[in-house]
């Protein structure tokens, strides 16, 4: 009960900071929009290539962009934590009786809410280009984005607590997430890839999320790939959150 109340308070504070700076909202939404406007048109001409999945350029590309948003939207959350640690904000909060878990959950909730807002903006902008999705599909898609965001965010927080400064955190997190992105088939479908590349991608959980997302946008909600993608990230979310909570309560008793 106390944890819930405190989580809500921490969420309010950080969400307030986020909305009070509209630049962040815009920057967060602009990047996927640029992909949508400047990259997706290129796909139109290759959508007819043999091996390109069925459904048209936007129904193939937008699901990938949403997964990318989940990945990159959450890698940066560690910066805020490091800045707060340095400024003594966390220490100030720790001297109060606030629930320790709430300090982490409130932040994570803020991250997820922003991620969902950005996802909705992206989907709304893509609809005039021919993107199709139904209400049930939208809910599953948002849930999948949230799971990816929570997984990556938890890893990012654990890493930020472990490293403690931006100069080692930034290169590590971005270097680690780039191959994850490239091997997920976000930009171009892996069905176009040579076999060896596809074999490596098969161990990348994000590639399952991308396949699941494409099936969702095709309306194949009961498809095995959807169940797989969501299940994989549900497990990863549980494991990574456990890791982050343990790391957090060790560093911030």
């Amino acid at each position: 009960m106390k944890t819930l109340r405190d989580t809500a308070l921490v969420f309010q504070r950080y969400f307030g900071i986020f909305v009070s700076n509209p630049a962040w909202v815009v920057i967060g939404a602009v990047q996927p929009l640029l992909y949508l406007l400047l990259f997706a048109p290129l796909l139109k001409s290759i959508a007819a290539t043999p091996g390109f999945p069925h459904g048209g350029a936007y129904n193939v590309f937008v699901p990938g962009l949403l997964i990318q948003l989940g990945l990159f939207g959450s890698t940066g959350v560690g910066f805020g934590l490091i800045a707060d640690l340095r400024a003594g904000v966390i220490e100030r909060l720790r001297v109060t009786p606030v629930s320790r878990l709430a300090l982490l959950l409130g932040r994570a909730l803020r991250d997820i809410v922003t991620l969902e807002l950005q996802s909705l903006i992206l989907i709304a902008v893509a609809i005039p280009f021919g993107l199709r999705i139904n209400a049930a599909g939208l809910l599953i898609m948002l849930a999948l984005v949230a799971l990816i965001g929570l997984t990556m965010g938890s890893i990012a927080y654990a890493l930020a607590l472990w490293l403690g400064d931006e100069n080692s955190y930034a290169p590590l997190i971005f270097t680690a997430s780039l191959p994850l992105l490239l091997l997920s088939g976000v930009l171009l479908p892996l069905s176009l890839a040579p076999t060896w590349l596809r074999d490596i991608a098969a161990v990348n959980p994000l590639s399952y999320a991308v396949t699941a997302a494409r099936a969702i946008f095709l309306g194949h909600l009961g498809n095995r790939s959807v169940v797989e993608g969501v299940a994989i990230f549900a497990v990863l979310t549980a494991v990574s959150m456990l890791l982050a909570v343990r790391r957090f309560s060790r560093a911030i008793a």
Binding site: D6, S20, I90, V95, V98
Partner: protein
């Protein structure tokens, strides 16, 4: 919080520690940052914890505020056992760290409200308490601006307001005036004295001797994790050398030295070219006696000055090092 609830505040202790220790494990092996500290702090006083950077001041403070678990020892803080009841300690103490800890992107008012909410106050109570503190710390003018635009003094007052939001019995201040201009420093001293007058106990760390001397009722000096001296500022100063009376005399100073050395209240006398330095326990009572003696012996007195040893001298004597250089 009426005064009736704290009868004879001075007879109670607000902090009591026995053998408080903290060992950090580093790559080069364990480092004992605090090596068994026994403290007894009387309620309703300003207690100064003095020492150079790295002496163990902040580590001790972080243990007493529940931020860092002790490696060993016992402590009672504000009537609660530090190790068994950290949550109750948190309800009763306030802490203002060296860095303050306000977020630059948030207004001062919302920082205070948020802090109050974390102590369990309702939204309405929190807003009322924030209004009260903002008025009492003269933050009205800047309360609705983001804290990144605050001056050093304003930020410190905001930190204090946050630390006091739940009316703690005991307030910890870590280097409260570091980086403040002289005017803000004087202002902060006034605030701290006002808090004491209202019945709040204050525990502060400092490496400014002047601050320790002017502000604190009791002082403890820590160096390399160990307590090296304790007492009131004047006790500490007296403990080292007493007062120095410098007498400018006409004629041969040696005559004056011989005369004064025979007096039981004079500890030591040294002669300069045309002056005599006389070390006494209590300068203010010794001076009239010295004047009568010299007058009676027909020695001409040209000048007289009375000086007290500074805490810097105390520190130098106890640790073999000067504090100011360390603090730079």
């Amino acid at each position: 919080m009426s005064t009736g609830e704290r009868p004879e505040a001075s007879s109670r202790t607000i902090i009591e520690t026995r053998g408080l220790r903290r060992i950090f494990s580093t790559r080069r092996g364990p480092v004992e940052a605090v090596a068994g500290v026994d403290l007894s702090v009387a309620a309703g006083t300003i207690f100064g914890f003095l020492g150079p950077n790295g002496a163990g001041k902040t580590t001790t403070l972080r243990m007493l505020t529940t931020l860092l678990p002790p490696t060993g020892g016992e402590a009672t803080v504000a009537g609660c056992d530090l190790r068994r009841e950290p949550a109750r300690v948190r309800q009763r103490v306030g802490y203002v760290s060296q860095r303050g800890g306000s977020d630059g992107a948030v207004t001062g008012r919302s920082e205070v409200v948020f802090q109050a909410r974390l102590y369990g106050m309702s939204a309405a109570d929190a807003r009322a308490r924030a209004r009260e503190l903002i008025a009492s710390f003269q933050l009205d003018e800047c309360a609705d601006r983001r804290t990144q635009s605050y001056s050093g003094g304003q930020r410190r007052r905001l930190d204090l307001a946050c630390g006091l939001v739940h009316r703690p019995q005991l307030l910890f201040l870590d280097e409260p005036t570091t980086g403040l201009d002289p005017q803000s420093r004087a202002h902060l001293w006034e605030e701290v004295r006002r808090l004491r007058a209202e019945g709040t106990s204050i525990f502060l760390t400092t490496h400014y001797l002047e601050e320790a001397d002017q502000l604190c009722d009791q002082l403890t000096i820590i160096d390399q994790g160990r307590l090296v001296a304790a007492g009131t500022p004047s006790e500490l100063k007296r403990q080292i050398a007493g007062d120095v009376v410098t007498l400018g005399v006409g004629g041969d100073p040696q005559r004056a030295v011989e005369l004064l050395q025979r007096q039981p209240f004079v500890r030591e006398t040294t002669a300069g070219a045309d002056e005599v330095r006389c070390f006494v326990d209590r300068g203010e009572t010794a001076t009239p006696a010295l004047l009568r003696l010299l007058d009676g012996a027909g020695i001409e007195l040209r000048s007289l000055s009375l000086s007290r040893p500074s805490l810097d001298d105390v520190f130098l004597r106890q640790t073999g090092r000067r504090l100011r250089e360390e603090a730079a």
